[in-house]
Amino acid sequence: MEQSLETKRGNAVISLLLLLLAVLFLAPILIVLMNSFKGRFFISDTPFQFPTAETFVGLDNYTSGVAKIGFFNAFGLSVFITVTSVAVIVLFTSMTAWYITRVKTKFTNLLYYIFVFSMIVPFQMVMFTMTKTANTLYLDNPIGIVLIYLGFGSGLSVFLFSGFVKSIPLEIEEAVMIDGYNPVQSFFKVVLPLLKPIAITVAILNVMWIWNDYLLPLLVIGSEYQTIPIAIQYLKGGYGSIDIGAMMAMLVLAIVPIIIFYLFCQRYIIEGVVAGAVKG
């Protein structure tokens, strides 16, 4: 269809507006990046000025920040906890969702509703008692916290997987079981591959949550171990003693991995988030 002159003009105005908004959306990140190369006394008062010969300090903020908070340890720990927890969540909650969808009893029905219920309970409700339980059971270490994340992430994940399992026709599983597959084989060889799209959604939603999570790891393992958000909050330290140069550099180092991850898998991330939201 031919576009009228009027729509063409309208679209030009909209394009300009969108361009402006895009710059506005990117500006905060670029300003932090710019300030990470400035001396600490030239940041708070004049954050919108480019580094000059006088204010430019090269990578000093990065080296001092990395040393202060042990950034690479925090990064390694964040990667370990996120990757392990998400893998464990995807594997076990998909199995559980399949089980409670295929086995129809009063008990599995009740379980389903408790999982759904847990999704609306705010973290503060169980924050104190969960931390105490984790301490008592010696789960206050990087391995133990994976179990905590499995428990805490299971509400949404079981819910999303269950919704998807319901849409898989029973006949497929019945056919392979008649052919001699036991339930373990039919789940791993037939059902799990079919769950791939929703597994990607579940994985992405959980990565976004666990990677950025602050309070849960602080309370459970924070006295001995620091993830990236904990390390950044720790940098703020006591009253007014903040090294804002190091802070800028660490903010950049915290953002860069997520943005790289995002640029590589953005189609999956956006589609996954939409799918998760629409099903939820």
Partner: protein, 280 residues
């Protein structure tokens, strides 16, 4: 087939159920119980009836936080959804670069609350410096700072959900309305809006619960300053637990009240908007 699968309960369901029990079910039940007791560790709890609850409602910090959170939630939910919907309208007109804009607007959503807080602290303090004040000079600045921050974080997220909804509106329906002489606003109000009602339900749900439960960015941006006046509910509960010795029981009672409020708000919203979906 059901009987056959049931034999594998221990493999398929048990790991998730154990983790879920440890990190959610037990802490939840224990949390409700402890809100009626006085305790410092879980084991020395002494039954005190409703006295923690009466203390909550005479605690000025809690009432301030409640009022602040309610105001914040109303304004952030409205602003985020209006901007996100408008952006979604702009990005579904087939303008060149649509995918790029979508990528940019969505990006802030991947950054965690702690990091977001420090990014905006830098920028807002930089602007306010020109007026010789800082972000923690008045609670009004902190309030609008948090509004800007959450808008920046969530607009892109809601936008992609609205875009998915708008793309499901059949084109011929809009053409038909145009031929019938409907105005642009009339089409938006009477054709588009009712059809994207499911997206509106989801976005309201997500923004409501995100705003009401905000913690990380609140802590990083102002940490409640000046003098606790920008403390939101989640942060107030945290401060009661870990900042006031002997107030653990009151903290737990606050957490229970917080949970009930979140549940009520979310359920009422879902009921209202779901009904609109059916009518539409």
């Amino acid at each position: 087939m059901q009987k056959n699968i049931q034999k594998y309960f221990a493999l398929f369901a048990l790991p998730t159920l154990i983790a879920f029990g440890i990190s959610f079910v037990v802490p939840f039940v224990l949390g409700v119980y402890l809100s009626f007791t006085e305790f410092t560790t879980v084991t020395n709890a002494k039954w005190v009836g409703f006295s923690n609850y009466t203390k909550v409602f005479s605690d000025q910090d809690f009432l301030n936080a409640l009022w602040f959170t309610l105001k914040f939630t109303v304004i952030s939910v409205l602003s985020i959804n209006i901007f996100a919907f408008l952006l979604a309208l702009l990005l579904t007109r087939g303008i060149r670069g649509t995918n790029l804009y979508r990528t940019v607007f969505f990006m802030p959503n991947l950054i965690g609350g702690i990091v977001l807080g420090y990014i905006w602290q830098l920028i807002l303090n930089g602007i306010l410096f020109k007026f010789d004040v800082t972000l923690t000079f008045s609670p009004t600045y902190g309030f609008w700072g948090l509004i800007i921050l959450t808008n920046w974080q969530l607009i892109g997220y809601m936008m992609v959900i609205y875009i998915a909804g708008l793309q499901n509106v059949p084109k011929d329906l809009i053409e038909a309305a145009k031929i019938d002489g409907a105005t642009r606003f009339g089409i938006l109000k009477n054709v588009t809006m009712p059809l994207v009602m499911p997206s509106i339900t989801i976005c309201l749900f997500l923004t409501l619960s995100n705003s009401f439960k905000l913690f990380d960015s609140n802590l990083a941006l102002t940490a409640g300053a000046p003098s606790k006046q920008t403390t939101m509910l989640a942060l107030d509960i945290y401060n009661t637990f870990y900042g006031k010795a002997g107030w653990e029981g009151v903290g737990q009672a606050k957490a229970v009240i917080f949970f009930v409020m979140v549940a009520l708000i979310v359920l009422v919203q879902l009921l209202i908007t779901r009904r609109k979906e059916v009518e539409g």
